[in-house]
């Protein structure tokens, strides 16, 4: 029975991490046109307890992508400097949408495994009931 709870805990941590990742992606997309915006990225890391891996995952600290932002040419803009350009963001829509798809896929996989652990545990309990 204990393994089912371990599996469910791992799946739940995966759900939380992927949801966090999806939130960062939607923040990036929302700020794709914000001048000077740097896209937020995060790495996942394995959760340790007492030095031992628990099998769970957690999203690491949020970092900013150090890549150069795009320079947008618009001399009429109040932000434009002497070259007629201003600093945009470094968000690329294609990358963000691909990331969102992958996060959703991982989220659904975690959800399915959580459900399977729950159903297997229930099957075991029903054996007792007979």
């Amino acid at each position: 029975m204990d393994e089912f709870f371990q599996g469910a805990a791992a799946a739940a941590s995966g759900l939380k991490a992927q949801a966090h990742r999806l939130r960062l992606v939607s923040e990036n997309i929302a700020n794709a046109d914000t001048p000077g915006y740097r896209r937020k990225v995060t790495d996942f890391e394995a959760v340790l307890r007492g030095g031992q891996p628990t099998g769970e995952v957690a999203a690491g600290p949020v970092r900013l992508d150090p890549r150069e932002q795009e320079r947008i040419w618009d001399p009429a803009s109040p932000l434009a400097d002497e070259t007629g350009t201003y600093l945009g963001s470094n968000v690329e829509m294609v990358i963000e949408i691909a990331d969102a798809r992958e996060a959703q896929r991982s989220y659904e996989a975690n959800l399915r495994l959580f459900d399977q652990a729950r159903q297997m545990a229930r099957g075991l309990l029903e054996l007792l009931r007979r």
């Binding site: 029975m1 393994e3 089912f4 371990q6 599996g7 469910a8 791992a10 799946a11 941590s13 995966g14 991490a17 990742r21 790495d43 996942f44 890391e45 394995a46 099998g55 769970e56 995952v57 992958e102 896929r105 991982s106 996989a109 975690n110 399915r112 495994l113 959580f114 399977q116 652990a117 159903q119 297997m120 099957g123 075991l124 054996l127 007979r130």
Partner: protein, 127 residues
């Protein structure tokens, strides 16, 4: 009667093996995007379930029942899928396929156990 008991022991071992694998696969899927994470699994049930008991009981007369086959608590071992550039060896598709196999293994074990149990019950006269 004793074959029935051994069948139940086998089914119990199979269910325990499936439960352990389920936990490992859930951990693999949760860490599918963790850089450097290695996918883990158990050895197949046939190699985990030993035919001879860990401590063989002395059988001096025919009709003595020897020790029962035991299930070793298996250790998770490295079982990589395709390796990604960040060192992660989990493939979601392969893990989902494994999850389906595990579900089937667990259902099989519980089904066998349940029917052996009901046969045993009816043999002692209780419905």
């Amino acid at each position: 009667m004793f074959e029935r008991l051994e069948l139940m022991r086998l089914a119990h071992g199979l269910a325990a093996h499936a439960a352990q694998r389920q936990a490992l696969v859930a951990q693999n899927v949760a860490n599918a995007d963790t850089p450097g994470y290695r996918a883990r699994d158990l050895a197949p049930f046939e190699s985990v379930f030993r035919e001879t008991p860990s401590v063989p009981l002395k059988v001096t007369r025919p009709g003595h029942v020897g020790g029962a086959p035991s299930v070793i608590a298996a250790e998770g071992r490295d079982a990589p899928d395709a390796e990604e550039p960040n060192g992660n060896t989990v493939s979601l598709e392969d893990q989902m396929l494994k999850a389906a196999e595990i579900r089937h293994q667990h259902d099989l074990a519980l089904g066998v156990y349940g029917s052996a149990l009901s046969i045993l019950r009816s043999s002692i006269g209780r419905r």
